[in-house]
Structures are given as structure tokens and as C-alpha cells.
Amino acid sequence: MKDFDYLEPASIAEASEMMLAHPGGSVMAGGTALMLALRQRMVTPSHVISLRRIRDLRGITHTPAEGLRIGALALHAEVARSPLVRQHAPMLADMASRLANPQVRNQGTIGGNLCYGDPATDPPSCLLALNADVVLRSARGTRVLKVDQFATDYFATALEPGEIVSEIRIPPSAFDAGYHARFLRTAAEHRPLVNFAVSLRKQGDACEDVRMVIGASTRVPTRLRKAEDWMKGKTVTARLAAEVADLGASEIEPISDIRGDGSFRRDMARTACRRTIEDLFNPAGSAATSAA
């Protein structure tokens, strides 16, 4: 690893100034991803600016009007066990409890995950399905973006120089069910080949409203808008689940890399989508029912 200067700003404003003063620097939250990149000399920053002393980036709170506020430095393990997250966004807590492995959950942060822009991770698709806001702060002020505005491309975000993510907000929602499913190429993998996140409002066997997202297989998490429109207002049968999954799989642009080529990822996206919808509605004739 190349040598660097190490800085520990005490406030968001100070961090922002340091980032502008050292454009060759890297910002570090938990460090799980950055350390790998540093060790392999994929990045060679002049400065590492650690955010760990900034108290404003910590904590998980909830108000009925604004919903959940999760500080950017919240560890995945903290998100997983937070009673507030478990109550108000159970699919997020459930996702965080299965993310990567225990060591990474104890060191990696939700904000760091978003800022690194690595597509092969679980939080971005889950947060997009929850309609989360990403709050960005700098010495110049505050911006609030949706996850699909924040994640702009493969390992790229809307962050501007001197800007850091301070918190994630999950607004109160009219959805009453949801799930985040991940598919790994092998059981020993830590990174998902594909993940599928869904928030929905059920009325008996019918789907009143739905948001669906495919992640990890695409450059950025992708809303399945055609599939959502097809599903809304309909009774969910095994046949409808298959139709929705076919539509959803047709509207993503899968990446090809060492973990899987695009056609395999599209197939797995279709399967993850269909199975998750079947599990949530358990319609007659579905695999979930016939297996029972």
C-alpha cells in the first residue's frame, strides 16, 4: 500500500473543506471496500479522510412524520438489529442481517456502501424499493436525492467534490409488505449475482400498489416500471407472477463479468422476481404452494 496522510475531521463542514483542499484524497467510512482498493493499489490517494469522529453521521431515529433517519456511518450490523428499522423497514433490517458476512457487517456502513457505487451489493436495490432519500451535505449546503438519482453508473455516484452522504431517510410508506431476495452464484459467495427488492400493498390476493427493483445484475439498481404497471390492481396468480417476472427481466440491461454473463443474470433476475412474488402471495398452482 502506498503511503498517505491520514485525517480525522470532527465535523461535516471540516470534512468537506479537507476534501476540497486534497482533491487526490479518499474518504473512508468503515473502510472494508477502500482498504481492498488501497491494498491492491487500485487507488493511491494522497490523503485518507476518515469520517469516524463525526457524530452527526451516526444514530438511527424515527418520527411518524418523517420516517426513519439512518446516519451514514450506521454499520450494517446496527441496521440489522435496530428495533426502529425492524419495526418500520423490516425488509431493510432483514437484508442487512444477511449482507456479506459477520465481519463486514460489523465494519461496513450503509453510507459507505452507497458512496462506493459497487453494483454487486445488496443495500442499493433495497433502499430504492423503500423509496429512500439520500441526504448529501457539504460546506455549500444540503441536497436530497433518490437512490436512482444518486447511483449514476457503474461505481459512479452524483457526489460532487466536497460532498458527503450524511444520512439515509426512509419516508413513511403506504406499502404494507416487502422483501429483499438475493441470489448467490455459490453458497460461499459474499456478493450477490442478482438481487430483487419489492415493496407492495396487498388487498387480499390482489396487488394494489408495488415498487420493484433489480440490483447487482445491472450497472445501477433498476426499477421494473413495466412490470409494476402490469401487476398493479390485479389478482396475483402463479400465471401473473410469471408474466410480471418476464416483463421485469425484459426491462433490465444486465452486465457481464466474472460472476456471470448477461443472459444468465437475466434468467436469474426473472427467477428471483417470480419466486419472491409467489412467496409473498402464495397463489394456487405456484411452486411455493405445490412444494408445501
Binding site: D3, G31, N101
Partner: protein
Amino acid sequence: MSKKTIEVVVNGRTHRAEVPARRMLSDFLRDDLFLTGTKRGCETGVCGCCSVLIDGEVIKSCLSLAVHADGHEVTTIEGLAVDGVLHPVQEAFVNHGGLQCGYCTPGFIMTTVAMLNDNPNPTEDEIRHGLNGNLCRCTGYVGIVESIKAAAEKLRGN
């Protein structure tokens, strides 16, 4: 070279040291404190044999800077035995064949100690999921899982 002074409690003993900013926690433990029980394996966050506890939670010391441990308590494999008496998890790994070559063992044991602190009565599925940040090339994991079940039982007072 950029240096920082850190104060870290390791296995109950306070260490003040001046370290290069880029010193990994695994290197600090092994090369500066000579606590060589913590192993360096892949050094890319995959194998888990560098696992240690920070404030009781398991992390990979090859993915963590020593400066990030400043002000915290670190527990390594050397910190488990008390007056020469093995920790119940160590004892269980010995008695139930939880190791062959032993290189991954300190990492597995630290992960297990943290796992059983959080969940004193894990199912086999929870044990296996709890180990997914640690790799063993020798045992096939059967002996490791048996060891953890036995350690959990003993720690629960049975």
C-alpha cells in the same frame, strides 16, 4: 511517512504506539506487538483468518487500519485463555476435531466467540451462516460445526 500515535487496549493491556497511517491492524498486532496468533491469510478480506474482536464485535484485521482501533479494545486469540486455562470455545475445537492444519483456527475461534455472545443457542443453520466470513481448506467444516455446538452447550452451563 505519515505517522499517528494510537492508544489501543489489546487483551486487557493498554498499548501506546506511533504507527504509520497505512499500518493494517493485522500487521500492528503481529509485527509491532508480536501477537502472532492472529494470522494473515488472503489479506483481501476473503478468508477470515485475521478475525479479531473490536469492542466485542468480530472484524477482519486485514481490512482495518491500526489507527481505526485507536481508543478501542481489541481481543485476539491470545486474550481468550485465563491463567493457562483454555476458553470453552478453544477447548471444544481441541476436543471435537475443529481443526487440522490450524491456520484458520484463530479466526474461526474469534468468530465463534462473538457469535455465541450474540446468540448462545444457535441452530446449525445459524452456525453455518455465522461462519460465512471464514474459510477452512482442511476440515470440511463438520468438526468446526460440532465444536461450536459443544462450546455453545458448555457456555450455556450444561
